[in-house]
Symmetry: C2
Subunit: 315 residues, 2 copies
């Protein structure tokens, strides 16, 4: 990818930090750098906000997926971010730019996929914006959620000694993309991921830190460790990896929840029907600046696990 | 414009209405169809949400405006929507897609313009998303605001007999675009519009309905009248039209506030330093389906005023 996204986000974060209004308006409990922003707008509950861009030719291809699949997936990305904070999604917004020649059939199917998914999670399409696009379809989804005040599960709460857990299976979506890229015929609809909203809500009071696996385990675990200032060990044999280790480690778009919990917390092996795997643990690392993430292979040998998260399709 | 945007929005609204979860979650006080959505997420105050897409080649041209101007304008559009509900903006989010070759200088200047504007209105950049674009720059801004519970000024509150008012001057931005289109050299920065946030907040309890003039008076007045189920008369000589009547009637991007107020309310001629003009009145119209908008010319003759709002630059 020609644009170093992480570097740009860091840069924006610094600029925003320098220029942002510090005191007097303490509504932004958590700004840039988590799955959602956390705003305190009223008493009793905190408000979660997340935005996710889906761009044709970068995040999806119209010749790979039916319109309804794409519409649903755009919303999944936002719902999953709310799930990763332990929140309940309540409303969503869509900014949509369409090429002039987009057929009404495609647009209707896109919305049907999206709105059926919204109904499933009891979240209303509450606004947005519409425009012409000068190239492909661009959909920016914003999901608003809520969580009891002060209870949002951040990325930054992991402590050395915490267990590391993941919901469901890893690498399934990336294996599908690899098959599509190789020109194979794939039945895409059956394997579409489900955002783990119910699991996320049940993890309030259990999880010390949480993130969703949208970019792939190795990348998302790095985010969580960076925000928490910790290292980690992942046990390769413990990974729920039906499509193999590589896809499980680096494949994105599974929208599972990756979370940590203190050793004293009992984490069930299944929550809301979704299997939970203990895949590793959080470590202190060697020094302030050296918090490595290790992968223990089946023979017990340790390898550095570098973030190699799934690159969104980029032409 | 090849895509009939209004028709598409109506279509989405219907689909969302059919599929949206009706009972059990009364947090969406006002969904699609106003300047902002209104959510009731906590006690005491309501939450406003607005999203605005800005697309290179549709909404702006990089060769017409400096990067800082564009960055500022993207945010203005959202702040103005919050102002049009009487709200206080509290946080904003940016989804930004950049062509691979965008220079760091351009991006930095874009952010400086945007973040200085944010500082001016005490609103923090709290998150967003970053992606590669396959064509031009795409910026989707989301602004979160708040307003005392139940006090948001909707588009739907205008009553026959109400006065019709507008803040500031109309047609200035469109006159500038016309000059740029004609190849003239224009000093753009000096005339950049300011969202009327302070005026909007002062109009709570005064205005019965409100909208911002982002698409042009004739189009935005039509929106307001449609939502309120009323007609209107606009007095041409009363329009604050420094660039002429045509630009004032149909020119967009002024980001002034167009509002109505009951005859018994005293509307000051200036609020927070911004002049307020009484430009017409709200009428009952002839029948349920016939709520015409009239323009009274300087000789007192009446003409039908059709929505001819400024078409965003479309290639």
């Amino acid at each position: 990818m020609p644009i170093p996204e992480l570097k740009l986000i860091e840069r924006i974060r610094r600029m925003a930090g320098i220029l942002a209004p510090a005191p007097g308006k303490p509504v932004v409990v958590r700004g840039i750098g988590d799955d959602c922003a956390v705003l305190r707008l009223g008493a009793g509950s905190d408000t979660l906000v997340t935005t996710d861009l889906s761009i044709e030719g970068v995040h999806f291809r119209r010749d790979w997926y039916p319109a309804g699949f794409i519409g649903r997936q755009c919303l999944t990305r936002g719902l999953s971010d709310v799930a990763a904070m332990g929140g309940e999604p309540v409303a969503f917004f869509l900014s949509l730019a369409l090429p002039p020649k987009t057929s009404q059939t495609w647009v209707d199917a896109f919305f049907r996929g999206m709105l059926a998914h919204a109904l499933e999670f009891n979240v209303a399409l509450s606004g947005g914006d519409i425009s012409t696009s000068t190239s492909g379809v661009v959909a920016d989804i914003m999901v608003i959620g809520r969580v009891p005040a002060g209870k949002a599960v951040l990325r930054s709460g992991a402590k050395p000694g915490d267990g590391l857990y993941v919901t469901g299976m890893l690498g399934v979506a990336a294996a599908r993309v690899a098959a599509l890229r190789a020109g194979k015929k794939v039945e895409v609809a059956s394997a579409q991921p489900t955002p783990r909203v119910r699991v996320g809500r049940r993890l309030i009071g259990v999880a010390s830190a949480m993130i969703d696996t949208s970019d792939g385990l190795s990348t998302d675990l790095k985010h969580l460790c960076d925000e928490s200032g910790v290292g980690a060990i992942v046990y390769a044999p413990a990974l729920p990896a039906p499509a193999g280790l590589d896809f499980a480690l680096h494949g994105g778009e599974d929208y599972e929840l990756l979370f940590t919990a203190p050793a004293r917390k009992k984490v069930p092996s299944k929550i809301a029907g979704v299997p939970i795997s203990r895949i590793g643990e959080i470590t202190r690392g060697f020094a302030r600046k050296d918090k490595p993430i290790w992968l223990a292979d089946p023979r017990g040998r340790m390898h550095r696990l570098k973030p190699q998260g799934w690159q969104h399709f980029s032409g």
